[in-house]
Symmetry: C2
Subunit: 256 residues, 2 copies
């Protein structure tokens, strides 16, 4: 497995950005050179790492549409070894403009090729849809990481999401694997969370990471400080969970 992971789920608010930001930071803190690509026009991963969205002249939209090179857009973050390709609002335009490009599905894969040599792991934060931006991420990626909130509505969308991964593997990206399902916002005191966990582990077995991310208010507070949770409150349950998840990810996949 190479080093590009698309963090995707069309269900909204399941912890895609929180997982992309904190997992990327944890892998970088372990000494790997990591890139986080923000492919959501909301730009939450960008502001979650302290980059001011509104001041960006060049961002991932310009990379995707061919208006700028990788080095014009790459930015450092508060974490050593972690760089970001930030997003801003006008990335929304790409959802429509990509349709006019020949082989639009490969736009991101082509543009990220120079990055693959410089970074050991690349995470792509996806918007809450299965539109052209998410397709681009899945075509560029080696694997899809699926954050799954342990609730009913989030379970409903899983079939469609996995069907989309299968159809991209069958056509546009034969290497694409399902890197795993991460259970997020887990509140062990509720039957709901326990029932969902049991059902998901029964259906998907080893595909589900052993590490579960608990509901932890520190994870929701950290973005307002522009920091990943381990730099905001390193002793919190949220920080421990993402550090543990990064170790499990690195055990499963030897990024070279």
């Amino acid at each position: 497995m190479g080093g590009i992971l698309a963090v995707a789920n069309q269900k909204g608010g399941v912890g895609k950005t929180t997982t992309a930001v904190n997992l990327a930071a944890a892998v970088a803190l372990a000494g790997h050179r990591v890139l986080l690509v923000d492919l959501d026009p909301q730009g939450n991963a960008t502001s979650g790492l302290g980059v001011a969205r509104h001041e960006l002249e060049r961002h991932v939209y310009h990379l995707l549409m061919g208006g700028a090179a990788l080095d014009d857009i790459l930015r450092p973050t508060a974490v050593e070894n972690l760089a970001i390709l930030p997003a801003a609002r006008d990335l929304t335009g790409a959802e429509i403009e990509l349709a006019e490009m020949a082989e639009w599905e490969y736009a991101l894969a082509d543009k990220l090729r120079p990055a693959a040599a410089r970074f050991e792991v690349i995470f792509i934060d996806c918007p809450p849809s299965l539109g052209r931006l998410t397709v681009n991420a899945m075509v560029a990626a080696d694997g899809v990481l699926v954050p799954l909130q342990t609730e009913y509505y989030a379970m409903e969308g899983l079939t469609e999401l996995l069907a989309t991964v299968d159809s991209i593997r069958a056509g546009l990206n034969p290497n694409l694997t399902l890197a795993g399902i991460v259970l997020t916002m887990y509140d062990g005191r509720t039957n709901l969370a326990r029932d969902v966990e049991q059902e998901i582990r029964r259906h998907f077995g080893e595909l589900v990471f052993k590490t579960v991310v608990p509901r932890s208010v520190r994870l929701a507070e950290a973005p307002s400080h522009g920091l990943p949770v381990m730099l905001y409150d390193g002793r919190s349950q949220g920080a421990e969970a993402y550090l543990e998840l990064s170790r499990e990810l690195l055990r499963r996949y030897r990024f070279s």
Copy 2:
């Protein structure tokens, strides 16, 4: 104010579906004839009210694209006075196919016209995006109801959402108002929720409903039973909050 409310916010997982389903049910239980339109291809409002998405031959996609009439698609729910226009997966196609229709922005407004005479209030549940489906909902609506999760990332998207409402009012739908902002998933024990509430009320004053919806696991459990929360657990905080919110909504707007 007429009776069509679009429940919208491009930020994912902020409680759009939960608000649309439970507020529609509460208004119906108060004796008003209510229609809930599920305009999200995820179809959460549809399954949240017990309708089996996968068995639907005709749904809101066919109404929008002109393949079926309102009465072919309307379905009753477990709540007297509440009907639903259900959604299924292939509604995703409308996001792209609408572009080929002349005046695509008015597709839903035109198709809902016969319903406006039969229902006193119509709620439209929107997907987590500002794409063509959400634009259709805002063009058809008299007001936009904005569920806002009391957290940092959710606040970030508010400016873009309100700018979209303004631009639709300036062009496609001069009657469109901001019906109000509803604070959701509120956990009064955290500074984060209290800080966000204070900031939102300072900025938006009367536009923010007094009723706040607390985090209540009953709200997350009810959809798996296909019931609104007041029929699943009428004494829960979640049920009380949406009943209270419906009373505040009806005081603010006399639906005729």
